[in-house]
C-alpha cells in the first residue's frame, strides 16, 4: 500500500489556480523530493496534505485512509507530521518546553488537567534524550526565540519528527542556512529511520539530488515530471524550466 496517494488535487484561491490536477503516489520509506521554481505550488501542496486548508478538488489518502476532509490535528494523530517553511516554534518557551509540547501531543485525551507537567519524568527524559541525540543539550534551557536561526531550523525539524510520524513533510528545511548548517541538517534528515516516509521541498538541487529516491517537479501549479534522480537530471523539460530565460529564479 502506498504511504500517500495524491489524486487529482486542485486548489484555487479566488480566480488563481494555484494547483491543477496533481496526482502522485509515495511508497513507504521513500524519500520524495518536491522541486520547482518559486510559485510552483509546492507549499500550497504541503498545506493541503497537512490539512492547513482544504483542497478545491481531489483526494488525499494516507496508508489507504482517505484524509481529504480531516482537520490538521487529526492528520497529525494519524502520523502525518510537517515542518514549516517559515520557522514555526513556540518563541517564548524554552527549547526543552518546545520539545515537551511535541512529545506530549501523543497523550491527548488523557485527563491532563490536574497532573503536574514536571511530575512526568519519562517525558522529560525523552525530551532530553532527543536533544542529546542531536547535540543540542546546551541550548535546552534557552528561550526558543533567542537561539540562532540554524538552531531554530533544527528544533523545527525535531518537533516534527519527535513522535516518529509515518509520513514527514519537510518544507525547505535547509532554507537560509549556512553551508555548514546545511550539511548538519541534511545529515539529520539522512539519519532518520526508514520507517518514516519523507516528502521534502528543496530549492538546493545538490541537496535534492543527494537525498531523493524519487523527485516530483511542479511548475506553475502543474506536475510536469516525476522520476528518479537520473531521469530528472536528464529531463530537458526540467532543465529548461530551471535554466530557461523566463523562469530563472
Amino acid at each position: 500500500m502506498s504511504a500517500l496517494v495524491v489524486s487529482d488535487v486542485s486548489r484555487n484561491f479566488g480566480g488563481v489556480q494555484a494547483l491543477s490536477n496533481i496526482s502522485f503516489e509515495v511508497e513507504p520509506g521513500e524519500r520524495r523530493l518536491i522541486i520547482g521554481p518559486n510559485g510552483a505550488g509546492k507549499t500550497t501542496l504541503f498545506n493541503m496534505l497537512a490539512g492547513a486548508f482544504p483542497v478545491s478538488d481531489g483526494t488525499v489518502t494516507l496508508f489507504g485512509r482517505d484524509i481529504t476532509d480531516l482537520p490538521a490535528y487529526e492528520r497529525a494523530r494519524l502520523g502525518l507530521s510537517r515542518t514549516f517553511q517559515i520557522t514555526n516554534l513556540f518563541p517564548r518557551l524554552s527549547v526543552l518546553e518546545n520539545i515537551l509540547l511535541a512529545l506530549q501531543a501523543a497523550e491527548h485525551g488523557a485527563a491532563s488537567l490536574f497532573r503536574r507537567m514536571r511530575a512526568n519524568r519519562p517525558l522529560y527524559q525523552r525530551a532530553e534524550a532527543l536533544l542529546g541525540e542531536w547535540n543540542l543539550t546546551a541550548i535546552a534551557g534557552q528561550t526558543a526565540r533567542n537561539i540562532s536561526y540554524g538552531e531554530q531550523r533544527q528544533i523545527d525539524l525535531i518537533l516534527a519528527m519527535a513522535l516518529t510520524p509515518k509520513v514527514l513533510l519537510l518544507d525547505e528545511p535547509t532554507a537560509g542556512l549556512s553551508a555548514a548548517e546545511v550539511v548538519r541538517v541534511v545529515g539529520m534528515i539522512r539519519s532518520l529511520s526508514k520507517a518514516m516516509t519523507i516528502l521534502m521541498i528543496e530549492h538546493d538541487m545538490d541537496v535534492a539530488f543527494d537525498l531523493a529516491d524519487r523527485i516530483t517537479v511542479l511548475h506553475q501549479g502543474r506536475l510536469i515530471a516525476e522520476g528518479d534522480v537520473a531521469a530528472i537530471r536528464g529531463n530537458p523539460h526540467v532543465t529548461a524550466i530551471y535554466l530557461g530565460a523566463d523562469e530563472m529564479e
Binding site: A50, G51, A52, P71, A72, Y73, E74, A76, R77, S81, R82, F84, N88, L89, F90, P91, R92, L93, S94, E97, L100, L101, A102, Q104, A105, A106, E107, H108, A110, S112, L113, F114, R115, R116, M117, R118, N120, G141, T143, L159, A160, L163
Partner: protein, 323 residues
C-alpha cells in the same frame, strides 16, 4: 513560567518561606484589622481570584476577553437569586452559581471562539452586554437597575453561621485558597502548557495533533467558572447584586488588574487586583473621579511597565544579574 530559566533550589525555599509567611498573615488578619479593613481584605481576595481567572485566558491561552464580568455577574445573580428567593443554602446556591457561569461560558464560547485577537475582544464584550441587558431589563426577576438587595449571609450549618465578619473572612479565605491552588495546578499541568503552546503558535499546535479549539473552549469555560466563584463570593460579601456586576467597566477593570500586575503569571494579577481595590477605596474617600485615576494608572503602566509589576521586577532583576 514561560521563558524563565529553571528556578534554582534555593529560590524554591524562598518561595516556600514567603508562602508560609503569607498564609500565616492571612490567617492572623482578623485579629489585627478593623471590620472595615477586614472587608477590604475580603474584597481584595475576591478580585484577586477574578483577575487570576482572566489571566488563565489572557496570559496563558493568549485570548484577551473584554467580557469577563459576564461570568462573574451571572454566577452572582444565580447565587443571589437562589439564596434570596428560594432560600437555598450556600452549599447548593454557590455550586449552582458556578454551574450557571460554566454553562453561560460554554454557550458564549461556542460563539466567540470562532474569532481571534481584537475580534474575540469585541464579541466577548458584545456577549457580556447581552447579559447586562437581560439583568437590566428583566425587572420582575432581577430588580433591574435597583438590583437585588438583602441577599443573606450564608450559614454553613445551623451551628456555624457566617454572619460574623471574621467567620465570613475565613470562609472566603478557604474558598479563594482552594481556587488559587486549583489554578496553580492547572497552569503547571500538561493542559496549562498546551495553552501556552496555543498562545505561542496555534498552527504549530495543530500540526502537532492538538485539537486547539477544544483546548480554547476548555480554557474559556474554566476561566469563567473561576470568575463565577469570585462572583458568588462577592454577592455574599456585598449582600447585593446589580447590573453593575456585569458591566463593561467591571470587565475593563479586571483586565486592567491583569495588565497592571503582569499577564502570564498568577501572582501578578493577584497583586494588580489587590492594588486596584485598595486604591479605589482610598481614592474614593477623596474624590468621585475614580475612573479618571484608573485611566491615568493604565497610561502609566502602558508607558513605563508594559509587562506589569511582575514583569518590571523581573526586568530589574535581569539587569542587576548581569549585562
Amino acid at each position: 513560567m514561560s521563558a524563565q530559566p529553571p528556578i534554582p533550589e534555593s529560590s524554591w525555599r524562598g518561595i516556600a518561606a514567603v508562602s508560609v509567611i503569607g498564609i500565616l498573615l492571612l490567617v492572623a488578619l482578623p485579629y489585627v484589622l478593623s471590620t472595615y479593613y477586614l472587608g477590604l481584605a475580603v474584597e481584595m481576595m475576591i478580585f484577586a481570584l477574578f483577575a487570576m481567572s482572566l489571566d488563565l485566558l489572557i496570559g496563558y491561552a493568549g485570548m484577551a476577553s473584554l467580557g469577563h464580568a459576564a461570568y462573574f455577574g451571572v454566577a452572582a445573580y444565580a447565587t443571589g437569586l437562589l439564596a434570596l428567593k428560594l432560600n437555598w443554602e450556600v452549599w447548593l446556591a454557590l455550586p449552582a452559581g458556578l454551574v450557571v457561569a460554566a454553562l453561560t461560558a460554554t454557550l458564549f464560547g461556542l460563539l466567540a471562539l470562532r474569532t481571534r485577537g481584537s475580534y474575540f475582544l469585541m464579541i466577548t464584550l458584545a456577549l457580556s452586554q447581552v447579559v447586562w441587558g437581560i439583568a437590566f431589563g428583566w425587572r420582575s426577576l432581577t430588580g433591574g437597575d435597583d438590583g437585588l438587595p438583602n441577599v443573606p449571609r450564608p450559614d454553613l450549618t445551623p451551628h456555624w453561621s457566617l454572619t460574623s465578619d471574621t467567620a465570613f473572612y475565613y470562609f472566603v479565605l478557604i474558598l479563594i485558597g482552594i481556587g488559587t491552588l486549583l489554578l496553580i495546578r492547572i497552569v503547571s499541568s500538561p493542559f496549562g502548557y498546551a495553552l501556552r503552546g496555543i498562545r505561542e503558535s496555534e498552527t504549530r499546535m495543530l500540526a502537532l495533533g492538538y485539537d486547539v479549539w477544544r483546548y480554547r473552549l476548555a480554557a474559556f469555560v474554566l476561566a469563567s467558572t473561576f470568575a463565577g466563584l469570585a462572583g458568588c463570593l462577592y454577592v455574599y460579601y456585598n449582600r447585593f447584586v446589580s447590573p453593575d456586576y456585569l458591566q463593561v467597566v467591571r470587565s475593563a477593570e479586571v483586565l486592567l488588574m491583569v495588565i497592571l500586575g503582569g499577564a502570564g503569571t498568577l501572582i501578578g494579577p493577584a497583586i494588580g487586583a489587590a492594588l486596584i481595590v485598595l486604591l479605589e477605596n482610598v481614592i474614593s474617600a477623596y474624590t468621585e473621579r475614580w475612573l479618571i485615576v484608573l485611566g491615568v494608572i493604565y497610561i502609566l503602566v502602558a508607558c513605563f511597565a508594559p509587562r506589569g509589576i511582575v514583569g518590571f521586577i523581573r526586568e530589574l532583576r535581569a539587569k542587576r544579574a548581569g549585562p
